[in-house]
């Protein structure tokens, strides 16, 4: 009997936590508010955590719209311990309510801290956190030339080399929901697109036609690949099945590059040139009429990445430097210039971007909370890291 009551107690607590999470969803509603970008972060305080636990919590929460302040200035109080394992609680100071009280076990302390950060994000915003997600990227020792593909936690920790070709590599892309990547490699003396299973290590050629084969982008259901080929005599966007079959050319511009899929799989956005200006365009994934996006104010757009919620396209604008920008797909507002950097890739929750930015003459990976413009650099790797792709 005691056990039954205890179980109900836990469920009851969880129910309270979930209800209050929904109630707290309002302040972070990103599209409803007046100022969409440059929003104020949600002030939280952190106590009791030292070392790695504190480091992970600070990183994860900063890039999801929170700032760290003294307890008297905080809206939410986070307290707990990372001695041995992570345990902690989250209190809504204004409502005088504990939203979350939990301890974590298993895996690594780091992973436990990410799990706690995810629970905090969910309790406050009702949205799934990004703490336990992965990225893939390329790393070049010299900043150009040969490199390898890597996979790491989204914050750059636990990096693991995937290729061992000592060749030029480019543009990794995840197969949705799978431990598998598509990427470009010059391993066979030509830029070819490969599929690489991370569970077996087996690779297969997806596109190895005469000329350029690069910029693989996987459709959200994993069934199609969009890419750049030059087999027809100019570099254009082509689509094929996930195994490389059923190839079809879908763009015919003079200067096409960098395809990305809409989340429903019906459109492909890409960079191109139109009336002597660089533009972003979209075309039906089965081919058809090209429509141009309004990117006025963000010149020379390239590297578009469509958000998983379908609302936004992040891209790189080249002015004097490269800048990460975001524009609504429906054209309802002008593009917003967020931070200096390139190669933006959306997180699964459509709130955060991973990108690379210059540090001297090399590139470092960084994670950006789009709506507060807060960003933090990923764990430093040697050499130059770029073209990050967020696993979805």
């Amino acid at each position: 009997m005691k056990k039954i009551i205890f179980n109900f107690l836990i469920i009851g607590l969880a129910a309270v936590a979930l209800n209050s999470a929904r109630a707290e969803d309002q302040p972070i509603d990103i599209v409803g508010g007046g100022t969409i970008f440059g929003q104020k972060p949600i002030p939280v305080s952190l106590s009791g955590f030292t070392g790695e636990g504190a480091e992970v919590l600070k990183f994860d929460l900063a890039v999801q719209g929170f700032s760290f302040v003294a307890p008297d200035a905080a809206q939410y109080l986070i307290s707990g311990s990372d001695a041995g394992s992570i345990s902690g609680s989250l209190t809504d100071k204004f409502a005088k309510r504990v939203l979350l009280s939990r301890s974590y076990n298993g895996a690594s302390l780091r992973r436990q801290a990410h799990a706690f950060a995810d629970d905090i994000v969910f309790a406050i915003t009702g949205k799934k956190g990004i703490g336990q997600t992965k990225i893939a990227y390329k790393s070049q020792p010299a900043g150009y030339g040969v490199g390898e593909i890597y996979v790491s936690d989204f914050d750059g920790a636990n990096a693991q080399r995937i290729t061992k070709d000592n060749a030029i590599v480019a543009k990794p892309a995840w197969a949705p929901g799978k431990l598998a990547l598509y990427y470009t490699s010059y391993a066979l003396d030509n830029p070819d697109i490969f599929y690489h299973s991370l569970t077996t290590g087996q690779r297969s050629k997806i596109a190895a036609y005469s000329g350029l084969n690069t910029s693989a982008a996987v459709s959200p259901n994993g069934s199609k690949i969009a890419m750049v080929l030059s087999k027809s005599g100019s570099a254009n966007i082509w689509v094929c099945n996930a195994d490389g079959t059923n190839l079809k050319q879908i763009s015919h511009g003079d200067e096409d590059s960098s395809p990305t899929w809409s989340p429903d799989g019906s459109w492909i956005c890409f960079a191109t040139k139109h009336s002597e200006r660089r533009r972003l365009a979209k075309v039906p994934a089965s081919g058809g009429t090209v429509q141009y996006l309004n990117t006025t104010g963000a010149p020379n757009p390239t590297e578009p990445d469509w958000s998983p919620d379908g609302k936004w396209i992040a891209f790189t604008s080249q002015m004097h430097d490269f800048n990460v920008c975001v524009v609504p797909v429906d054209g309802s507002m002008a593009p917003a210039v967020l931070v200096e950097g390139q190669n933006p890739s959306w997180s699964p929750n459509s709130r955060t971007l991973v990108f690379n930015r210059s540090m001297g003459y090399r590139q470092v990976l960084s994670v950006l909370d789009v709506f507060t413009k807060q960003y933090k650099d990923c764990a430093r790797a040697t050499g130059s890291s770029s073209q990050p792709a967020w696993a979805k």
Partner: protein, 202 residues
């Protein structure tokens, strides 16, 4: 069952009270994070798991490329396989481009003619054109720009009677600068197409 129905509302009320008062003595809920056995990334850092499970096979299996899979892929380059690269033969005829342009300048006419005659002089030779960019411009944009430069050079050679079938192109984007500097002089050198003569295997 009946007991539960009675107890449940009571417990909910109790839970709500505890939650609102922030009782510090409530035993915290424990979340078990799947450990290494559930599919570790592993490595020296010993951290984390991948949500889908399974180890990364890159280090052991990544060097082999299984060409038997991937239907529909064809290199289209079979006739170029095994040819001997001779980068020195036409090294003096490298052509250069204006910023962000793939147009062949009029001033490159003599280089294009020299490459065309090198090919017409020996019907068994073929040509590799390597398109390159300076470091300005984004990575994949530059990879496409380098290809456009190589294709423009191929087009110019075709106009001088060289069969395009004898020419293959490769873009290195900004990955193969001839001068790794970061100024106008270096950039001007790097915006180029190199011609590599291909000899048949003896």
């Amino acid at each position: 069952m009946k007991m539960n129905q009675i107890v449940f509302p009571l417990v909910l009320a109790l839970a709500a009270t505890l939650a609102t008062t922030g009782c510090k003595h409530t035993p915290p809920k424990t979340t078990i994070i799947p450990g290494q056995q559930a599919g570790a990334v592993g490595g020296e850092n010993g951290g984390g798991t991948l949500s889908g499970g399974g180890t990364l096979g890159g280090d052991t299996g990544g060097t082999g490329i299984n060409t038997s899979q991937g239907g529909g892929s064809t290199t289209g380059l079979d006739e170029f396989d095994g040819m001997i690269k001779d980068p020195a033969a036409l090294a003096a005829n490298t052509i250069h481009f204006a910023f962000d342009s793939a147009a062949i300048k009029k001033s490159e006419d003599s280089n294009i003619s020299a490459v065309a005659s090198a090919l017409s002089g020996n019907a068994s030779n073929k040509l590799l054109i390597e398109g390159n960019c300076d470091e300005r411009g984004t990575e994949e944009y530059n990879r496409a720009l380098g290809e456009r430069r190589a294709l423009a050079a191929r087009e110019a050679l075709a106009k001088r009677g060289v069969s395009p079938e004898r020419i293959r192109t490769i873009s290195y984007g900004k990955d193969k600068p001839t001068d790794p500097g970061h100024d106008d002089a270096a950039w001007a050198k790097n915006r180029r197409a190199d011609f590599v003569l291909l000899h048949p295997k003896p």
